[in-house]
């Protein structure tokens, strides 16, 4: 049972998206879900960390590059997805600077099965260190759908302070999209807590440049 009703969720989302007094920003603001916990001891309770899978991507500019075998590279070319083939990847071998450059150029990577197990041997630990090691792309999945999936997966980790923020949408979305993302994120995050809602002190929704609106 959610403690946040559909109505109050939509009310807050609308407030955040359509607040009249706001100054228009030149960049696309992100809409964030902020969760603060209570009755949780980060020293001894199980770590609160993982990946939330949203329905729609909160970051439209998020770029994904495919490190693909021949088949995947052909597919990527057909749908205009950035790609690097085996040959090009081998050219980066032992060139730390070039690997770093590749890591900086894209937000995330997908790799074919045959490539992914060779990444450390070919590229070294550059992608590891950058926090951008690829996820697996198989031949059984739709590449565009997989790219959207990667774009819609948001990592979260609670460290010392008992609150964390999760990107849930952006200002150009219609009300439904951030509302549904927030609904998914809240359900998932609360389900991971030992005492569920009794571990939640408050929920806020905020767009980058404005003040947070309380949801719970």
């Amino acid at each position: 049972i959610s403690k946040v009703s559909r109505d109050s969720l939509y009310e807050v989302v609308q407030e955040v998206l359509h607040e009249n007094q706001r100054k228009r920003q030149k960049f696309l603001e992100t809409v964030e879900l902020q969760i603060s916990l209570k009755n949780y001891d980060s020293q001894k309770d199980k770590r609160f960390s993982g990946t939330v899978r949203l329905k729609s991507t909160p970051r439209p500019k998020f770029s994904v590059c495919v490190l693909g075998d021949q088949q995947h590279c052909d597919e990527a070319e057909a749908v205009d997805i950035p790609r690097v083939d085996t040959q090009a990847l081998r050219k980066l071998s032992k060139h730390k600077k070039l690997v770093r450059k590749l890591a900086k150029k894209y937000d995330a990577f997908l790799a074919s099965e045959s490539m992914i197990k060779q990444i450390p041997r070919i590229l070294g630990p550059g992608l590891n260190k950058a926090g951008k090691f690829p996820s697996l792309l198989t031949h059984n999945e739709n590449m565009v759908a997989k790219v959207d999936e990667v774009k819609s997966a948001v990592k979260f980790q609670m460290k010392k302070v008992l609150c964390l923020a999760v990107a849930a949408g952006h200002m150009k979305m219609t009300d439904d999209e951030p509302a549904y993302n927030i609904h998914l994120a809240v359900s998932f995050l609360v389900s991971l807590l030992k005492k569920n809602w009794r571990n939640v002190r408050a929920l806020y929704i905020q767009s980058t440049m404005s003040k947070p609106q309380r949801l719970y």
């Binding site: 001894k44 199980k46 960390s49 993982g50 450390p120 590891n128 996820s135 991971l192």
Partner: protein, 386 residues
């Protein structure tokens, strides 16, 4: 049902640890690997109040306690003696002699400045210790020490042999040496990566055998399979991944199984699964089992196949709150479990003398067993108020 699964299904509580003055969460359990005829087998338990308790395995009474070390993570016995180790956020890995009453560690393994250790393991031949750090500035390190006690070496503090710094980008939550090859070690991090290393190779880049990606945050890692050539991990958001390193150099995929959220797909008859705790690889039957539980203290055991996880059995009437640790003993098929209810339980296969009364009363009225009052969930609030 296969024999091993029957064994699990027939596990019953044989012993409960006696109540202690200060209830704490039991976060880690390990049993001594040495066999001593006269003396009983030892159990070491990591307690959330910053202590390591040594118990007698059959009687589950506390023999001694090493206390006053806030920030301890993990607990492990050496393989050839009764030294017990734990890593600490104060930047050291500590070693105590579990047979001596002395409270001070007999050895200290010091890290580099600002190391905060949150995971560690010791190699199967007791030669090398490896500890993982939290991310500090931009680095998360795996630090290595020579663990051998040199009779000529009078100093009780050891400095590191070296460290790996390039292969993880966030807190390293798990380190696990190969069960029989002292040169292989696997590490897991909140960055989602599971790295496999061959530490005989000089530099970190070449020592990295492979990197597997859980795409989440790693909470537990282990080795499995004949010859232990497979690795598996659990994530903090209740995912499970299983990889077969036999296929590193073949055309076959190395991914055996990848379940983003086990709670969504597992079919538990008349029940739910709240979280995963860890895994048990059963050598004799070449089967991998996943251990999980509920926040009310029920333990679920699931078997692992390439088509998914299958629920085998539940162990109830034991814990009254989240179960955090366990230790499986291959020799006698016994299971030790520890939870947030401060209880340490010993389970063995076979019929129990008297059936337990209903779960919420938790009183065992029996002349054979000690009378123990089990902490209910309410006592958590009382403790919080202190």
């Amino acid at each position: 049902m296969e024999k091993i699964e029957e064994q699990f299904a027939n596990l019953n509580i044989v012993k409960r640890s006696s109540e202690t003055k200060e209830p704490t969460y039991l976060l880690g359990i390990d049993t001594s690997k040495t066999v001593q005829a006269e003396k009983g087998s030892l159990v070491a338990v990591l307690c959330s109040n910053g202590s390591i308790r040594i118990y007698d395995k059959e009687r589950l009474n506390v023999l001694r306690e090493f206390r006053g070390y806030p920030g301890l993570n993990g607990v492990k016995f050496a393989n050839s003696c009764d030294s017990v180790y734990s890593s600490c956020t104060d930047g050291t890995v500590k070693c105590w002699d579990a047979r001596l009453a002395s409270e001070k560690p007999v050895q200290l393994f010091k890290g580099y400045p600002s190391n905060i250790f949150i995971s560690f393991d010791i190699s199967c031949n007791d030669h090398v210790i490896c500890a993982g750090t939290e991310k500090v500035d931009d680095d998360a390190l795996l630090v290595f020490w020579d663990a051998r006690i040199n009779s000529q070496d009078l100093s009780t503090t050891k400095d590191p042999l070296g460290a790996y710094s390039e292969t993880h980008s966030d807190d390293i939550t798990q380190v696990c040496f190969h069960p029989s090859n002292p040169n292989m070690v696997v590490s897991g991090s909140t960055d989602g990566l599971v790295n496999v290393f061959d530490i005989t190779v000089d530099n970190e880049e070449d020592a990295l055998v492979t990197t597997c990606n859980s795409v989440s945050s790693v909470s537990y890692i282990g080795w499995s399979g004949k010859d232990y050539k497979q690795i598996y991990c659990m994530t903090h958001d209740e995912g499970f991944c299983w990889w077969d390193l036999n296929h590193l150099d073949t055309n076959e995929p190395i991914t055996c199984l990848n379940i983003p959220d086990v709670r969504e797909v597992i079919n538990v008859k008349e029940g739910i699964l709240d979280y995963l705790i860890g895994g048990i690889y059963h050598e004799k039957t070449d089967k991998l089992f996943v251990v999980g539980g509920t926040n009310t203290g029920i333990i679920h055991i699931m078997s692992c196949t390439t088509s998914g996880l299958v629920h085998v059995t539940r162990l109830q009437g034991g814990h009254a709150a989240t179960v955090r640790s366990f230790c499986w003993n291959m020799q006698d098929d016994s299971l030790l479990t520890g939870g947030e209810d401060a209880q340490l339980l010993l389970w063995k296969p076979g019929a129990v003398e008297k059936t337990l009364t209903k779960k919420d009363s938790m009183k065992i009225a029996s002349s054979v067993y000690q009378r123990v009052r089990v902490h209910s969930n309410d006592s958590y609030k009382k403790r919080k108020k202190q």
